[in-house]
Amino acid sequence: MTYGLLILWLLSGLAIVFENRTYRLIIYFSIFSLITSVAYFLLGSPDVAMAEAAIAAFSTIFFVICIEKYYSHRENVTQDRIRREPLLRRVGGVLPALLLCIGLFVLVVIHIPEAEAMYYLKYEYLQRFMHEIGGENAVTAIYLGYRVYDTLFEALILVIAVVAVSHMSYFEAIKVAEGTHSEIETSRVAALSLRIICPIILVFGIYLILNGHISAGGGFQGGLALATFFICRYMVYDIYDISVEKVLHWEEMIFLGIIIVTVIAVFLGVGNIIPAAILPFYQGAYLIVMNFLIGLKVACGFFFLFYRYITIERR
């Protein structure tokens, strides 16, 4: 059964290679991401599977906006299809690349080392993290405890991406007035069903954030769910009533908060940030605070990106 899934996975990858109509790529890409998420889950990593599913949804939205804009100023959709060249010439064009890829693949497969993988860190982390960091989810304990430096830079990269998107845009001058509606006609059925789903998504996102240290989930996944809530809210009411500059400002403030909490935690010793006398029944307070901050930051960042695309990049 896994092999069937994986063969479908490869086929969707191959379909992307051989598809020339850009708007069909989105469908293959969605199938591909869905199977990827299932495979991550089968590999024993529900956290990564959840993040991949949410990220796949976001990339699909972004590609849809990008491709819709790409075709919006073309009358004839088939205009950009590849010119039909003779078969021999087409094959001759890709033959070196094909041979290169097959050769590299054979080389890599031959040279896969036979040695045992090293599991030193796995045993150390799994046996120690409950005492040193707290919580029950080893993945959260690693990215908020042992490797918190990586997480800081990941948060920084997200801020940089958000700033870069607003600075690299072609439409520097366009300002969208608050309170205006989009000019797209929305479906009332979709708006009604989203209105029902909306609160469930919000609660689910908060649940993922607050339970990130004892179950699968955490700041990233919960933050993505929160951003999805704001996207649904936009789709229901169809109104630009949130200031993008304020969201960016909030994101930078939250990033500052993450740095401050991390520094305090490192100096006090991670896991003991709240003395046991105050919260004797609870040892994961640091993890909850950090997951909450990271969740808010990721939600702000992704909501900013979505809003930017839907208001300005789409034009």
Binding site: L43, A97, Y143, S169, Y170
Partner: protein, 124 residues
């Protein structure tokens, strides 16, 4: 050993890596190239996660709600690749968002998504 056997998943991820590499160097469309970058990232992450469960066909997620689970520690998936790939996925998406914005700007300036036409337009 259930129906979900993940033992040879690394071969599939290698094949996908080279499929997307082939697509990346032969693609004529900018949007396709962006998607292939995401595919390459996915295959690398899959390979890395597989390394964390080497010799362990039915991995347990690394969520230790009961210390008794630590007695069978060799059946638990390695949490370190998972934590690092979680970071890598978010960073990958941030990069893709920037790249799509750059493509939008490119499309506005030159009005095409074809690499060859873009090269010609740059040459003039």
């Amino acid at each position: 050993m259930g129906i979900f056997n993940v033992e040879n998943i690394e071969i599939f991820s290698l094949i996908l890596f080279f499929i997307s590499f082939f697509g990346l160097i032969t693609s004529k469309n900018v949007i396709k190239s962006i998607i292939f970058v995401m595919l390459i990232q996915t295959s690398v992450i899959m390979f890395w996660l597989k390394l964390g469960i080497e010799g362990n066909p039915t991995p347990i997620p690394p969520i230790i709600y009961d210390p008794v689970l630590l007695e069978n520690i060799e059946y638990i998936a390695d949490p370190l690749p998972q934590a690092l790939t979680l970071t890598a996925i978010i960073i990958g998406f941030a990069v893709i968002a920037i790249v799509i914005t750059m493509f939008n700007t490119l499309d506005r300036q030159y009005g095409t998504a074809d690499w060859k036409k873009l090269e010609e337009a740059e040459g003039n």
